[in-house]
């Protein structure tokens, strides 16, 4: 198994652009903790799936060797610019593109100057790969792909990495509860949009931290529907697909609001679930410690 670390992270630019805002400090710190863990795992490549890169025809993969520039978010343009410097593992990407038709998904390489790399990918790269030294594989979120297809895309990416002897850090970029605050607020008062959403997010984070896979898989569809989870929580399918369906442990580094919606930074320890028992309690406590 070439996966050396895995992370489910949010793609909101707000904590990155305003890290000192009290409700967002936790998310900023959580991302920085995840960055340290990722660096310690010494990957050769980061395999990113972002819910914010939408595809509707085929599966798209970023294949431009080097992209750099300034991105302005279409929603949060008033909070500033997002510089980015992203390198791609073109060889691995080409191998993945060649492999996906075997399970009925046609893939395409995206190699165009000025391509609008999505905010979520940029935020994840800026936090987790701040000097842009590690190359990325970046997969689009085809909105018509289901949970199973997303898992298959991730497992295929990992298998291709294995064949090329790459050590992989898996990164899934997406949110938790999707209800937002639709009014202008004092940013210092940002909060999860509803108590029900907050309860759902905390319940899922506890399940994930405890590694209770049957309960997690059972809860996911209901969670996705009732908490209006970002893209049906498909980004979690990317993690599970890449990890072979289970993990040894999970730690919630952060949980908090992003203008009403739920955001988290979760680290997964690759490996068989049975080895995780001593850490589950700690992970669960971590989830419970999350401040609102």
């Amino acid at each position: 198994m070439p996966v050396v670390s895995a992370f489910l992270v949010h793609g909101s630019p707000l904590p990155f652009l305003r890290p000192d805002n009290p409700p967002w400090r936790t998310l900023d710190a959580g991302y920085r903790a995840a960055a340290a863990s990722l660096a310690a795992s010494r990957p050769d490549v980061i395999a990113v799936y972002s819910t914010q890169w939408i595809a509707v025809l085929d599966e798209l993969w970023q294949a431009r060797p080097h992209s750099r520039g300034v991105h302005v978010d279409e929603n949060w343009h008033e909070y500033g610019d997002l510089a980015f410097d992203i390198r791609c593992d073109v060889k691995l990407t080409e191998a993945i593109i060649a492999a996906t038709p075997k399970f009925g998904v046609r893939s395409k390489a995206v190699d165009y100057e000025g391509f609008p790399i999505d905010t979520g990918t940029i935020i994840a790269n800026n936090y987790l790969n701040p000097r842009g030294k590690l190359p990325l594989v970046i997969a689009a979120n085809n909105v018509y792909h289901d949970w199973r297809t997303t898992q298959k895309l991730a497992s295929t990416a990992v298998a291709c990495a294995d064949s090329l002897r790459r050590r992989v850090a898996l990164v899934a970029v997406g949110g938790l509860s999707g209800s937002i605050i639709r009014e202008e607020i004092d940013l210092a008062t940002d909060h999860i949009a509803s108590q029900a959403d907050d309860d759902w997010n905390r319940r899922m984070l506890e399940l994930i931290a405890a590694g209770r896979m049957p309960a997690i898989l059972k809860a996911c569809p209901q969670y996705a529907q009732e908490a209006r989870v970002d893209m049906g929580f498909k980004h979690f399918a990317w993690i599970l697909g890449g990890l072979g369906g289970s993990y040894a442990a999970a730690q919630v580094h952060a949980y908090g609001p992003s203008y009403g919606s739920g955001a988290a930074v979760i680290e997964f320890t690759p490996g068989a679930a049975k080895r995780a028992a001593p850490q589950r309690t700690a992970a669960k406590k971590s989830a419970k410690r999350v401040k609102r």
Binding site: V56, L57, D58, N75, H77, E78, G114, R182
Partner: protein, 308 residues
């Protein structure tokens, strides 16, 4: 200052394929041909727009999707390269446009006074979305008329349809007030496709028109039904059917531009001119015009769709 007015509204869809098919110098990819019926429909619309001599073009685009409120371009001059995130192989367009900031601010203020959350987009590095650019290029490739760009707030998807389109109605009426207050001769552009069922794989040659046809017969029939009503000026029936049309044809008019335009025009019971209809990756697209200028002061402005 004379009172401003809306001289026309156009349903002006934004498939980037149309720019690709036309091969303008601003767009890097080059095609052999493609989507002529729609491109020639836009050629007819260009002529009528030219005759109207508007001061400003206002465009509402579903591909500038905003979460917190309705946003308006607020930078006087914007340039850059717009690459379509879905079809980067077809659309990589060097754009340069001038914004009527005074009118944009007036629209923003009127909509806020009407109870909506609004924002001005002041970041000069902002990349204008491909929907806005495609619609503007197709209707006025000279780029010599200032524009007001308006985002599509996600309310029709986030709230229920009635509430979401209700916001677009308020936005349209606010737009009308702003145009009147600032003395502009304005043209409205609703950047929307009709039936939005589409294919899931692109032909190897994107402009291979032997591969182009309606993705859905039911969707095609819906498009024809709605176009027929619009051509007959049956505005009330159009809006009575709109929720069912949106649901059954997955119509992109859900995103709000169509309702915004109609509300701003005062839901006129006048026949629309169909310049042309065509499919793009199976979706249904109509270029249509409501020429209000032709009716002068005879036109009744309605607060909501009413029977003709």
């Amino acid at each position: 200052m004379a009172k401003g007015k809306i001289v026309a509204g156009y349903l002006a869809p934004h498939p980037p394929h149309l720019v690709y098919g036309e091969n303008p110098p601003q767009n890097a990819p080059k095609s052999q041909c493609g989507w002529e019926q729609l491109r020639w429909a836009y050629e007819r619309a260009r002529k009528t727009l030219d005759a109207l001599q508007p001061d400003v073009l206002l465009v509402h685009s579903p591909h500038w999707n905003t979460q917190l409120g309705h946003h308006f371009l607020g930078v006087p001059h914007l340039t850059g390269k717009s690459v379509d995130p879905i079809f980067p192989n077809l659309f990589r367009y060097d754009f340069e446009l001038n914004v009527d900031v005074e009118l944009a601010e007036a629209c923003c203020a009127e909509a806020r006074a009407g109870g909506l959350v609004t924002r001005m987009m002041r970041n000069p590095k902002f990349r204008v979305d491909y929907g806005t650019i495609t619609t503007l290029h197709m209707i006025r490739p000279q780029w010599d008329i200032p524009v007001v760009g308006i985002s599509a707030n996600n309310s029709p998807y986030y709230l229920n349809l009635r509430e979401g389109l209700g916001e677009m109605d308020v936005l349209g009426k606010a737009t009308r007030r702003a145009i009147e207050r600032t003395g502009r001769r304005a043209v409205l552009l609703a950047s929307n496709t009709l039936c939005h069922w589409h294919f899931h794989q692109e032909p190897l040659i994107p402009e291979d028109m032997s591969q182009e046809h309606p993705q859905s017969f039911d969707g095609y029939k819906w498009d024809m039904r709605m176009i027929d009503l619009m051509r007959r000026g049956r505005t009330q029936e159009v809006f009575q059917l709109l929720p069912q049309f949106i649901q059954e044809a997955f119509a992109e008019v859900k995103s709000g531009a169509f309702t915004w335009m109609y509300a701003a025009m005062g839901y006129p019971n006048i026949p629309a001119e169909l310049h042309g209809y065509g499919n793009v990756i199976g979706t249904g697209n109509a270029v249509m015009e409501w020429n209000l200028d032709r009716y002068g002061d005879q036109l009744t402005v309605h607060d909501r769709p009413v029977a003709a």
